[in-house]
Amino acid sequence: MSDIPVTAKSAGQLNGELLSSLRPPSRRWYLLVLLLGAVVAWGLFAFAWQLTHGMYVTGKNRPVMWGFYITGFVFWVGLSHSGTMVSAILRLSQANWRRPILRAAEAMTVFCIAVAGLFPLIHLGRNWTFFYMMPYPNQRGLWPNFRSPLLWDMTAITAYIIGSSLFLYLGLLPDLALARDRASGWRQRVYGVLAMGWRGSAHEWSVYRKASILMAALIIPVAISVHSIVAWDFAVTVVPGWHSTIFPPYFVIGAILSGVAAVITLMIVIRKAFQLEDYLTPLHFDNMGKLLLVISLLWTYAYFVEVQTTWYAHEPIEWEVFSFMAGTYTVPLLLMLIGNALLPIVTMCFQRLRRSIAVMLVVSLLVNVGMFIERFLIIVPSLAHKNMPFVWGSYAPSWVEISVNLAAVAGFTLLFTLFAKFFPIVAVTDVRELEVLQAEVPLGRAKLPAIVGEE
């Protein structure tokens, strides 16, 4: 008699399919890693060039001292909201469709915030003195000045990196035990250490469930505060176009928009790469599409409010910045409005389009193109045309800044690719839990799906 229980799809089958990403890598995987590694190496070379030649190799000059690096920083912090939005909020609201998406979203958060954290360090003029930001007793007799928003960023990003890594690890714990039981050799030893001796006793599950909910509740304010603090980097200055009370919520909404779009993109890639069509179904894309629609509407509203207030008040310098932005950057501005508002709002209204993988891929990618442009249009025009007309200027990124930004994309993709090969990329336990808890219940002439509720 076989040990394996007989169900529609046995637990072993489910484990096998959901852990398929852990199979030995193919030649294509190695090629991808090599290619991404090469782009990262190019970015490191560009950074080394900047380090040895000085900041003049970037396109930054008076008055635009924040350029592509800070654009990249704000963009990646925004992307990192994916894990919080999709994982923590949907976990707290007990939305069952979240289950196959959780892990990708949580991992994305960790890698995005890690990439984001590099940008302020790259942006520092003297990068080698970055440790001045760390508070520790030193011979200089100085401690960091916490009045500086740079320190707020460092504290918030440190909290978010540690918090979201622990959140990811917590979700991984039972899956690491599963992987341990199915692996051999060095992998078994590594998974064994990381699984910390997890057996899945009733008590362990009970504590684990409570801890997951508590962590989800704790990580949400951290995520919101991180992007609010990034917004305050701008809003607490008196630079026209930045000094606005709506900035923190506007930034948070934008962050969630880009995060949700990025999760959709990743879902499509993972689905295709690991043949997870049975688990990442059109229903998941449909629900994510609805989420995207709501967030896009909110973003559009916030952007409209911001522009409408500027237009109606017609305060000269504020209006000058806006006019300069709309006149000089007309094409990017239109692309941003199409990518962040028009396209998602029009397409995501229709179920057929929400369930089309191709449409979702195009929309999610364009949302993030739009979001990168949005960050750029917030930063550069305000600095280029601020209060003193005799120091107005312009900005164009140099090859160094473009290379570092491209390396950031490649670095994130590389980290995610490696993670997906060595750790379960789908939350196996969460998906299997749903299989156990759901059943078909006869009601009248029909049989309807029913799910035992979580506590």
Binding site: S10, I162, G197, A202, V207
Partner: protein, 191 residues
């Protein structure tokens, strides 16, 4: 000493637990090992009161104190006079307090969780990889001394045994193995 029975499905595992309880084993001695969580009471009762979430609160409070010390303490030790503004600025201090408090609360939660789960374990515990493939493990903790202990409903495993207390440990083990085999256990292991 621990006896582990491996069951093919949730129904037979439930029967095994029922039979163990009927034979006099206390609920607190029995636990289930599963690869997915089942609601409390499906196999064994849960809902034991636990203290570990106080660590979240403690972490938050310690973090708030540390954050205040870091931001306000720095300003106080290295004063930077800016116009008539206060040396200890409220706004940056509040930001640092909030971030460090939440960070420490999160760390406190994870540490508390592992302490409550007693992970990683000090010594090797019984386990069967078939559990990962969907089988259900029912574990019975056998009291070594055979001393009668009054049992509450949610007693700690290993601290409370009921009527089987009169038996010596090896007999308790044999009884548990026999009951689980009769209930449909695929195999039993003892350690």
């Amino acid at each position: 000493m621990e006896v582990l029975g491996i069951f093919r499905d949730i129904a037979t595992a439930g029967q095994g637990v029922e039979a163990l309880v009927k034979a006099g084993f206390a609920e607190g001695q029995i636990t289930s090992l599963t690869s997915v969580p089942y609601p409390d009471g499906v196999l064994v009762p849960g809902g034991r009161r636990s203290w570990w979430r106080w660590l979240t609160l403690a972490g938050g409070l310690v973090g708030a104190g540390a954050g205040f010390g870091l931001a306000a303490g720095t300003a106080w030790l290295y004063p930077v006079q800016t116009g008539d503004k206060p040396i200890i600025a409220l706004y940056p201090t509040a930001i640092i307090v909030f971030e460090v408090a939440l960070l420490c609360a999160i760390v406190g939660t994870v540490v508390g969780m592992f302490l409550e789960m007693r992970l990683p374990p000090r010594d090797k515990r019984l386990y069967d990889p078939a559990i990962a493939e969907g089988c259900i493990g029912i574990s019975v903790t056998v009291h070594a001394g055979g001393e009668v202990v009054a049992c509450g409903e949610a007693g700690e495993a290993g601290t409370c045994i009921g009527v089987v207390a009169a038996l010596a440990a090896p007999e308790q083990r044999e009884q548990a193995e026999e009951i689980m085999r009769q209930a449909g256990a695929l195999r039993t292991r003892t350690e």
